[in-house]
């Protein structure tokens, strides 16, 4: 909580240094953001270490959870990309689990939401965008440029269509990252604002409290949904790179 104003919905997104590290003029400090990235990563690893340690035929809950998440992403990748997408499964799966746990850990009070910072999500989306572009050119050669000029369009429209297609292509990483970040940022701010109402209203605070409970359920849904949307759009972009004709 901020010292001056007890109800400060933006304060939860502040980055603070835990260990100050400066290497060659670069600020590589270990911040609370880094700490919660480590948490998300260890949560993923723990889920699979514990879940898959027994490997029984009749799975317990942890094993079910890890196997379900594996199947979920494997099916998504097969539906969207087809068999060619199998090579990219490790990346897609890690991406989904990391974002999923970042979103969910951020829902716990007094934690930090890594994905509420645009630079984090943009780093993901930018990396995906560059990787997908390289994959597209490697797999299709210069024929990949055809995605900027869809077939069946008269040649005199090309000067208009090609820039539009290029802008549309370049806007992919921006829309991908802004969507995830904005959802997280808005959701957590609203939660904090309504929690502030509860404190301010005293006895009458039960009304916003009821609303807060409902809102929290919605935020849980959004946390899962946004991780899903981010992953499925990555799959769709990958599919466009592998099969540009469709």
């Amino acid at each position: 909580m901020a010292a001056g104003n007890p109800i400060d919905p933006i304060h939860q997104f502040e980055i603070s240094k835990i260990a100050d590290i400066q290497i060659g003029g670069l600020d590589l400090s270990f911040t609370n953001s880094s700490l919660f990235m480590v948490f998300a990563l260890s949560a993923t690893v723990m889920l699979f270490l514990i879940g898959l340690s027994r490997r029984s035929i009749i799975p317990n809950r942890m094993q079910m959870l890890s196997e379900l998440s594996y199947n979920f992403i494997a099916n998504m990748l097969r539906d969207q990309v087809g068999d060619q997408g199998r090579a990219y499964f490790p990346f897609i799966f890690s991406l989904f689990m990391f974002i999923f746990f970042c979103n969910f850990i951020g829902l716990i009070p007094y934690t930090f939401t890594v994905t509420s910072h645009l630079i984090v999500t943009f780093a993901f989306a930018g990396l995906i965008f560059i990787a997908v572009t390289i994959i597209g050119f490697v797999k299709n050669g210069l024929g990949y440029l055809r995605i900027f000029y869809p077939s069946g369009i008269p040649i005199f429209l090309a000067p208009l269509i090609v820039p539009i297609e290029i802008i549309s292509y370049l806007s992919k990483p921006i829309s991908l990252s802004v969507r995830l970040c904005a959802n997280m940022l808005a959701g957590h701010s609203i939660l904090k604002i309504f929690a502030g109402f509860t404190v301010m209203l005293g006895f009458l605070g039960f009304a916003p409290l009821v609303f807060l409970v409902v809102l929290y359920a919605l935020e849980t849904l959004i946390a899962a949904l946004q991780a899903y949307i981010f992953t499925i759009l990555t799959c769709i972009y990958l599919n466009d790179a592998l099969h540009p004709d469709h």
């Binding site: 820039p163 539009i164 802008i167 370049l170 806007s171 921006i174 829309s175 802004v178």
Partner: protein, 94 residues
């Protein structure tokens, strides 16, 4: 009293069918309006921002402000509408 076995089986069959119909109905996927709206809005804004960004870059380079900003902002808006069209199409397929 116990009914004739035929009748009993028939009523059971009816019950099973009714139960099945009840189960199968909600399988039809409910649309997720929240995610859809967010998707569409971001798509338009992102394309506009990219168009505007390219316009500003070109104008700064050639010193022709505001000509390319206008052109690329319009192109960006068109790209945004095209993106929305594509999202809507892909949502319809799923």
């Amino acid at each position: 009293m116990i009914k004739a076995p035929d009748e009993n089986l028939k009523s059971l069959k009816k019950k099973i069918q009714e139960a099945k119909e009840k189960i199968e109905e909600p399988v039809v996927e409910a649309p997720k309006p929240l995610g859809k709206i967010m998707k569409v809005v971001v798509e338009i804004v992102a394309a506009m921002a990219v168009g505007l960004g390219i316009g500003i870059l070109i104008d700064n380079y050639f010193d022709t402000r505001p000509f390319f900003i206008i052109v690329f902002f319009l192109l960006g808006s068109a790209a945004g509408i095209m993106n929305v069209f594509r999202v809507a199409k892909s949502l319809q397929n799923h």
